[in-house]
Symmetry: D3
Subunit: 268 residues, 6 copies
């Protein structure tokens, strides 16, 4: 967070420093300019300003996960004007981005209402912001996939190629990874799905399969592994995919392409 | 960049470490899955992999600013498979994001073809990525606004309120900032525009004005200051705004809401 | 590693700087003063010296996992004497510690020869050295338990107390953690073991149980979960515990109390 | 310390975060499971938890240097359960290690009771923990040798070889080092000891000498320099060495091989 | 600031730690030993001590810019003696240096009394201290030139050579830099000055010109650009240069050669 | 060094980036504009440029300690123009400062020619530059006093006051500091000097004494301790002080007030 402030402030806010003295107080309010799912008011926005001045007062901060309508106050703060102006852009940049992710996630969740499936994120996150972005996905109603390459195993094409078979790759991985971690394998065909079942894979990813193939795969697997659908999922296609019976649907655009929501800082 | 790799790799890629030895070589290719403006192949993708292994070989890397069509090769690399797999996601996350920005910027530039106006970015960037994002805007044909609060002066509402008048705020700023920096003032009304002209402001921002008001403002200013239009500009509205005669149009969504373009890493 | 060198060198090696010029070359040899399992010659010792001078030459470096007898050469390096003297202590401190861990692990592995059980480490590692220490355990023939609190779930007494039952705690965890991660529960009694089986726990830890209870627990579980024995395991008790039929035995002293092995740096 | 917490917590304690809310309070107690010399309760354990939550309350913390018996409470803390669980392992790993060092040092000190000799540590410390470990040695009753290569001069074999004689090496060092620092020389023979006396060395180290030779050396030196014995000293041999009349005995195993003492965190 | 303390304290103040316990309080006073312009008592000295112990009490701290005579108290603090002794040297080193700069700047300002000219600093600052030094220049009555290479454009000889003419260099720069930044060109001759005027340069630097040439240049420019004199300006020459009619005089020695003023810390 | 470059370059050299492409090469030469003692050409200037581009070629670099006359070439480099322009100011700022220190030190050394006394620096250095500055003192012919509070003991007024006597303070320090470090005591009177002798102090500092008192003190001490004169020493007074028979003279202005020497970077 310090890095983010440094990036935006440089060696000082020369406009504000020229015009305001340190002892002028102000009150700022974050207002939703469009409907959104709130995230980060307490943990992110408040912290940005507190880093600049530990004595700012947070008058209100919407709970993570609450829905806001246009015009709703999300966050209200009192503190030195110099502090509020110095932190404004970084705080807004962060919460607009995170609320954008939570809002998009919630839209996906709405599409699958009533179906026993989880929406998960991916590792397609903005470098430097993964933990925050994955938190926003959870706030929006989604689940988290592995955080990084060390807390989950996902065996892909070229891992398999290197071992000559899924079975061998799985065996190798099982013998070398901590016993606390499940093994997931990416599959393109039903033959691969079958091999995964046979060698006791924990999670089977169906990568870019048609709906028909997915349904067939789910039938084949029949509860012997978790099933994850993946690949180009959109708000339009997510419900049909969910109806195929998979357990999880992972969606990259939740984190890599959610547009920022519009929030402004007003002064009172 | 090291931070980004650490974020994605954690304490190690347990899948790849279990399956590959360090001496297996591979060849990876970044392929455009949709039309895009390329940015970052040399300066970003190559560096990500070189940080992991300084001996990787970059066989090709598209020039920044070149347009790619679906299927075009953007980047090609040879190196240890472990290195390629460890760096893949970070490199892709970065270039998909940056190409997204350059591609969107280029779309705006196309809209204003033939008009004497510049498209600029804002400080509404992703925390941690500002320098890269502003570079992508330039590659897409745009210009850069100030980088941070210390290399430009932008006097806004509450700066003015604190000084009782634009004139006083400008005078104060001029006396305290380096002489190498111009003064820009944000205006909402023609009266404010007039006051800016009278006190010798260098750049006048027209904030969220109607097209008619903008045209009037441009007439009033008549070359005595640079004129910047700002506020909710879209691909649909940008040309009309440009035709109002302003010198610059600043657009936040270039950096805060450009969707990632689709690029995949294939193996050969 | 840089931190470690800084810690040992301070603002400079005043003895060596006073006596040697930068262009005097020397050859140093690490010699085992007792039987040991080698670890870190290539990845640790070589890197320490290369950080000080990238042009040092490593003439030999024993493979990780190889056994050395008293008098065996583990590592041989040529470079500026100032570099060798500056790096000597840090390099030795690290490899003596890591070889100590690998050697102790190998001693445990020897005790369970022929039995289908894994020896694993714990989170009882030296702060700052966990990745290296867990690597040394693997080199010594052991397996790794979770690396940190984010890549494994271990539900203990007070987690259970907070939820009123194991079943509830497991349900809660399952709904909130990534699907890529298994759930382990620490148990003290057979009743708890039974509850774990009933609610589908992936791994059941038998904490400080008697051999008889362990055997009973293994019978109860009957392959429906992995079984991990834990608590005060020594070289004397490990084989009996292994014979109880558990899948894994986790041993804290591998990393927190392995004595350093004796290695000296000789000059030639 | 932050690094140590990051190493253990990763991106978050997923077990605890799934089960506890932030507002549940708990009380934890560190209990000695074996007799030990306490060190680090105030300066280390308390700080670990305070880094996580500055509002935790430390109810008791044993003084550094106090002896604890099995069952004694060393440390008691009240705070959010999430904080206590997040900091538990790092705090324990540190104090178990440091108390281990202090306890072993105290055992050596007991052996030399009544003799005018100091027990000192060496630079054979765990990388990253030197300051803490040397502090633990002091708490256990020992003294500190130089902290790093820049705050003490120790002329060894190859320094001497480079100068052709001890006399020349000492002269060179004396002319180039700060006048605030003493010169120590490592000797293997009585001839070397004599040369040290002749050229005014401040401290003479007797390296791996027999008891007889040590006694002879002490006689030769006769108070004209401090005398330090060094090399493979154990609890069994330390008293005899001390009786030889040396001023200091430096012991590497104090820091590189002291086993962790057993301390557990109980909940109330 | 932390770095500065670490540089001075090393692994601990062994003198003070040996003699004082942590609970002894003391009162220290910074006294001017010569006339000076005060700077940094609140923002620098106070912060140095607060970093060591957040509970120290600052009883007085002279305002930035106030003149002090020999014997005046600049700063008074109460806190643990260990804290005061640990921070003393770093705090004094900083404020003696900064007051030296402010005092020298004020001497230059006195020389140009009544003339409409600004004294500015340069980039000839002490590495690591630029922001503080430029602040001291402002406190002494001077103005700041650009802070670094990214917040101002200064086109010099070899930039011009690379473009074949000033006109081309200026055109190129204007098209590529943010519109918020002015363009300054360094000139040696009146021909260059004329070219600058013709191509609309914002600021013209007269580098090492004679007084006569400067006067001529000012006449030529006639208000169409800001005029900055530069090169070897001293207290003896500054008034004559100011009288030539330039707008700004930049002076490197303000920051690179201002002698430290004498301030001592007394104890009460 | 990276920090220093970042401080000067900010987010980029916008002038140079606008005008030069990366592949234009240039040759730069550092020329002495006044007589000086050279220091830092190889270790500092070369490194600054190599950090920016590891492939620059250093054609010449004057040895540390060599005297240069006006017009002498100190350093010559070939590399990308962008690199040379980016590193120029930081490299010059550093070497001008360091050569200033070495040149002033050499002037003091010249004053004491033929006398058996050392000139030493103090801890009155520029924060962040101590190691470089102390190196420059050595290059100029001086010696180093302690580097920081942890590698030397200096007992001052208030240390003594806390212990009621010099004797007690020395005893306390001796019992708690490493045996590798000497004890120095600051004295104001001959009584204090006598007490220092009596309790075996290693180094006695005569603080701000008159020449007569210094001579008397030297007579009293009579070789039983090193004698250091301190306090307001100038080029005018240093020889007389040296003739009083002290062993060392410590001089703060060597590092806190040496004016930068004039060096320019010319292009060829």
């Amino acid at each position: 967070m310090r890095q983010f402030l440094l990036e935006d402030i440089g060696h000082g806010d020369i406009t504000t420093d020229a015009i305001f003295s340190n002892d002028q107080e102000g009150r700022g309010v974050f207002v939703a300019k469009e409907p959104l799912v709130s995230v980060g008011m307490k943990k992110v926005a408040a912290n940005v300003f507190k880093l600049l001045d530990e004595n700012v007062q947070i008058l209100q901060a919407m709970e993570d996960g609450q829905r806001a309508e246009t015009g709703d106050v999300l966050f209200e703060i009192i503190g030195p004007v110099t502090c509020l102006l110095n932190g404004e852009r970084v705080a807004l940049n962060l919460v607009q981005h995170l609320c954008g992710i939570a809002t998009l996630t919630a839209a996906f969740i709405k599409q699958i209402k009533g179906l026993p499936v989880q929406i998960t994120d991916t590792r397609k996150t903005t470098p430097g912001l993964r933990i925050l972005e994955k938190y926003a996905v959870k706030v929006g109603g989604g689940s988290n996939h592995r955080f990084n390459l060390s807390d989950g195993v996902l065996i892909k094409d070229n891992h398999i190629a290197a071992c000559s078979s899924i079975t061998d790759a799985v065996k190798l991985a099982r013998s070398r990874i901590p016993h606390t971690i499940r093994i997931e394998v990416e599959t393109d065909t039903l033959e691969q799905v079958q091999e995964c079942i046979d060698c006791g894979v924990d999670i089977i990813m169906l990568d870019n399969m048609t709906l028909d193939t997915m349904r067939e795969a789910v039938g084949l697997i029949d509860g012997r592994a978790l099933v994850e659908a993946s690949g180009g999922v959109t708000l339009d296609t997510v419900r049909k995919i969910a109806q195929s019976g998979v357990d999880l649907i992972s969606i990259g655009c939740l984190t890599h392409s959610a547009p920022a929501v519009d929030i402004s800082m007003d002064w009172q």
